[in-house]
């Protein structure tokens, strides 16, 4: 089995490591426009070879599109134009726009829309990690639009990555990821901007930042080229959640401004219920 990975960054590179090591793929080729990333991917040993897009599509049994979502939405139809029996999947954080764009493609059945829910705040081939996907959710969207054979193959690939496979409508996926992933990136970016603007003396941030701050602001290190297109493609959901989030902050503001400690405590008690859900 040959797997072709388009975009050898954190996600593509981490998939490459485990798919090869665990025997799912005999050979992995990569497509990477960034010359430095391409050379690093070979040097680190993430892929056997970096090839052109056409070579990758011609040679591979499975083609994984692991680029930012704005590139993926352009590439996926192009790749489907070239495939015969090859299976194409993507790993993007938004699914509805991608599904719309391929919906009437004659090779739609060769495509499986997926999203392995794992990552770190780092990017590029040097961020790739073994075991990144172990135990996490592997989402497959609108599976009924794909060939059964294609879905089974992608399931097998995610099984090899030790993912818990969940089937979902693309529209639902985008709503849920707005809540549990996209919004927390915006809250972290905004926190970093706030602290950087206010704290002119950087030594104080470093000295006084306890573990809590580092953990809350961690996602603010995330990559702009990846995240800006996600917010565009999931605009309506992201803006809805952002409005609710700002309302909650306004509630805190009001109670704090009025020295209403009971009001603040009630908000915190309700927030504490997240304990039931998150370890």
């Amino acid at each position: 089995m040959q797997v072709g990975i388009i975009g050898i960054g954190l996600i593509g590179g981490s998939m490459a490591i485990d798919l090869k090591k665990r025997g799912f793929a005999d050979r992995i080729v990569g497509v990477e426009n960034n010359h430095l990333h391409a050379a690093a991917a070979v040097e680190i040993g993430l892929v056997d070879e970096v090839v052109s897009l056409d070579e990758c599509v011609a040679q591979s049994d499975i083609i994984v599109v692991a680029t930012p979502v704005n590139v993926a939405i352009r590439l996926i139809p192009e790749i489907l134009d070239k495939v015969d029996t090859q299976i194409v999947t993507d790993v993007c954080s938004t699914k509805e726009k991608i599904n719309e764009i391929v919906h009437y493609h004659p090779k739609r059945k060769n495509f499986v829309a997926s999203h392995p829910m794992a990552g770190t705040e780092y990017s590029g081939p040097w961020a790739a990690l073994p075991g990144l996907f172990d135990g996490r959710a592997g989402i497959i969207c609108n599976a009924e639009d794909s060939d059964l054979r294609a879905v089974e193959m992608i399931k097998k690939m995610y099984d090899c990555l030790n993912m818990r496979i969940i089937f979902m409508r693309a529209a639902h996926h985008d709503v849920h990821t707005a809540y549990v992933s996209h919004i927390s990136h915006i809250t972290s970016f905004a926190l970093a901007l706030t602290v950087l603007e206010k704290e002119k003396n950087e030594k104080n941030i470093f000295d006084l930042a306890s573990g809590g701050f580092s953990s809350t602001v961690r996602l603010a290190k995330s990559n702009a080229d990846m995240w800006a297109p996600i917010f565009s493609q999931n605009k309506e959901n992201v803006l809805t959640v952002l409005d609710t989030y700002i309302e909650k902050l306004q509630e805190f503001k009001k109670h704090i401004a009025e020295y209403d400690e009971n009001g603040v405590k009630e908000l915190i008690h309700n927030a504490n219920k997240i304990k039931r859900i998150i370890r």
Copy 2:
């Protein structure tokens, strides 16, 4: 040396563990109004004995006030009324109000205002951990208002906890902690409230929550009785930072609503500068 700890929770209990184990204290007594916490502190072995406030003050060389800030502000003057040569310190997250309230106390020089910047999102004696303070910042505020002997003793205590000691004005402390600690608790509480309100199906939160969300929302598990009084005592600073934070979110909202990916990228690039400061 006997150390008396008033409030045997996460902070008081963690101090007790290391001060005893590392030989700073021969005996540690605790004062704890919550009967369950008192019994647990003895059972776990955090303190040698739970005693009354009067016994604690009479017997101890150093008295550490490790209660929520609203209790501390009432207790510290009461304790100073009772001391002879004993040294009193507190571990509270706000320092200005506490310093104001003891400023003209005849025993002001026996008091050292301090804040060991460490913690977790858990509370109570069962949350106490060895090594919690290792390498973190131990702040001492307005040291010139305290006896040199008292400051030296508290420095020695934080040395034993492996803390990096930083001297600071109480007013500056409260500004900086609003930026790097208090605001990140509010952003996490608000995130938890948002997600809990929007996600009616809790299984989806659990399934789709990647590591990023858990890390961003972690502080939302924090204790209401501890945090509500902190926001009151640091009201002005907290509200100022909160306003800036909401402005940053509005900037994201505007750019996302206009599909202005370059605007979003510029915000993210600026936020990424937090990398220089936080590991």
